[in-house]
């Protein structure tokens, strides 16, 4: 989960930016390559299913996720009527896992999405204008790189206090610096290319150059990088809830479920494994899909 700061493949991003500029049918090529990769397609299908199940959980789930019967606490997996068992308050595990996807997926995707928007903008500004603006923005991100990601997320969450919004804020803050750094390095490499010079010579202003000529070349590489952060964010978000710093009970969320079921591992060990398994599968699929996307966009081979 700590791949955040390993942006050693800056050259690769720069290269991807260049190829993006060359061919017109680039995204079509990427798409066909991605669709031909069975692993990527498999992961995309699994993730799509997860999202659909989470969104339609209120319709699909057999029970109310917050209603349990104390008489049926910690029923084992395979119990009739509750085929994934029940939790420590007798609530149906299947229903809770389905509903839990809503929060867990949102907490994995939303921070990266916001950080992608803010980080890319900061990186673009820093890379395009250079000079003291660059120094100001990039030296500030350097400070955040001095903290291990997990520590930073926990420190901010810990100071802000538990809660969904606070968890989203702390995770977003964690992911802005690495995204800004990648965006900055790609922008710097694009800024001095001939077509930018040509646009400037023909009288285009800064805003137009960024919007028309730079943005398209920067978004691709930064997007791949951001997709690789989703799995990190999923694990970290669930980790915050696991520590009691994310969403609060009784909201179903995989990390929180893992935390409350942890107390019962001597009674029903395998039920407590289930929410973690969901986090693992989701994060694995995001990772594999991100890898597939990266090699699909790497057209040089």
């Amino acid at each position: 989960m700590t791949t955040i700061a390993s942006t050693t493949s800056k050259e690769k991003f720069a290269l991807a930016a260049e190829t993006a500029a060359v061919s017109r049918g680039y995204w079509t090529t990427v798409w066909t390559r991605l669709v031909r990769d069975p692993v990527s397609v498999g992961c995309a299908v699994v993730l799509l299913l997860m999202v659909l199940i989470a969104v339609f959980a209120p319709l699909l789930a057999p029970y109310d996720p917050s209603q349990g019967t104390m008489l049926k606490r910690l029923s084992p997996i395979g119990t009739e009527g509750h085929w994934l068992g029940t939790d420590e308050l007798g609530r149906d595990m299947l229903s809770r896992l389905m509903h839990g996807g809503q929060m867990s997926l949102m907490m994995g995707l939303l921070p990266v999405f916001i950080a992608f928007a803010i980080g890319t903008s900061l990186g673009l500004i820093a890379g395009f204008f250079g000079g003291w603006i660059n120094s100001l923005i990039m030296r500030t991100t350097d400070v955040f790189f001095a903290f291990p990601a997990v520590l930073l997320a926990i420190a901010i969450s810990g100071a802000l206090g538990a809660g969904f919004i606070n968890a989203i804020i702390s995770l977003t803050l964690v992911f802005i610096p690495p995204i800004a750094r990648v965006a900055e390095s790609v922008t710097t490499s694009v800024r001095n290319l001939d077509f930018v010079e040509a646009a400037r010579a023909s009288g285009a202003g800064n805003f137009t150059i960024i919007r028309v000529h730079v943005l398209g070349n920067v978004l691709g590489p930064v997007f791949i990088y951001a997709t690789s952060l989703v799995s990190v964010c999923m694990i970290l978000a669930a980790g915050l809830s696991f520590l009691g710093l994310g969403v609060r009970p009784p909201t179903p969320e995989w990390g929180l479920m893992l935390n409350t079921l942890r107390q019962s591992i001597y009674i029903q060990p395998w039920i407590s494994v289930l929410p973690g398994l969901m986090i693992f599968i989701t994060s694995l699929c995001f990772n594999l899909l991100s890898d597939g996307l990266r090699s699909a966009m790497d057209i040089k081979r």
Binding site: M1, T2, T3, A5, S6, T8, R139, D142, V143, F144, A146, F147, P148, A149, V150, L151, L152, I154, A155, I156, G158, A159, L160, G161, S231, I235, A238, G239, F242, L243, G244, L245, L258, R262, I265, Y266, P269, W270, S272, V273, G276, L277, I279, F280, S283, L284, F286, N287, L288, D291
Partner: protein, 317 residues
Amino acid sequence: MFVFIIRRFLYAIPIALAVAAVCFSLVHLAPGDPLTAIIPADAPAEVVIAIQQAYGMDRPLLVQFGSWIQRALQGDLGVSVATGRPVMGDIALALSNTLLLAFAAALLGFLGGILLGALAAIYNGTWIDKLATALAITGVSIPHYWLGLLLVIIFSVHLDWLPSMGAGPGGSSDWRLDWAHLRHLVLPAVTMCFIPMGIVTRTVRATVSEILNSEFVTALYARGLRGRRIALHVAKNAAPTVLSVMGLQFGYLLGGSILVETVFSWPGTGYLLNTAIFQRDIPLLQGIILVLAMFFVGLNLLVDVLQTLMDPRIKRG
């Protein structure tokens, strides 16, 4: 090169100061007064002011920051709001446990990662490569706190081979290198080694296969070198990259152990941090984060300097 090293040292100073500022400002991120934990809600106003004065909270922020830094440099990180003890002692003890765990996990992860990565690069495209790659991606995708729980269920609950909690007899202050203590270290260290193993495997695989395809290796083969001699050349060229990744990973082990320490009740900084958060013990929270972040800053500095010494081609700055 020496200019670079000196400049790198000087650059670490403003970073360290800024990091301290971030740690300091954590207090003011917190909702409400940082002293709410010890001031009863119905305390009369003069008592509140007296407590604020005792903790120095009535002075301007910049003055508070200045004196905090000054005292931190002398090893005084303040007094715990919850226990009334100086936080430095607790943090030092916890840090030694975290370092122990991090070293054990790093040893396992780095050795495993180098071995797997090298094998994957040498047998590129074979089942060995695929297995190593699969292991690496599993290592970085698995929530380590869940892996820890899984290992506890298998090895403590079902098999009853290894303990699931604590650091062994005598607690944290009396650690010795014997089986009674080592058996407590096994599960948390194995849990934590997976992430660095995955990342190091990927790095070694990519670096080594790039070197193996480079012209100078072909030239070495042409000169008749085989096996171990070639491996030596490859290792020398891969070392700077792999080393820098390992340095970062070690830092992440220090900072990232909080979840694993919570699962195993390991008496380290992560466990202490968790306690600090739930008791809203802000001086303790600040102190732990400051110490860990400073460790990380120092580690990054060390890695950069070592890398420059090993590979004189690197001229940065």
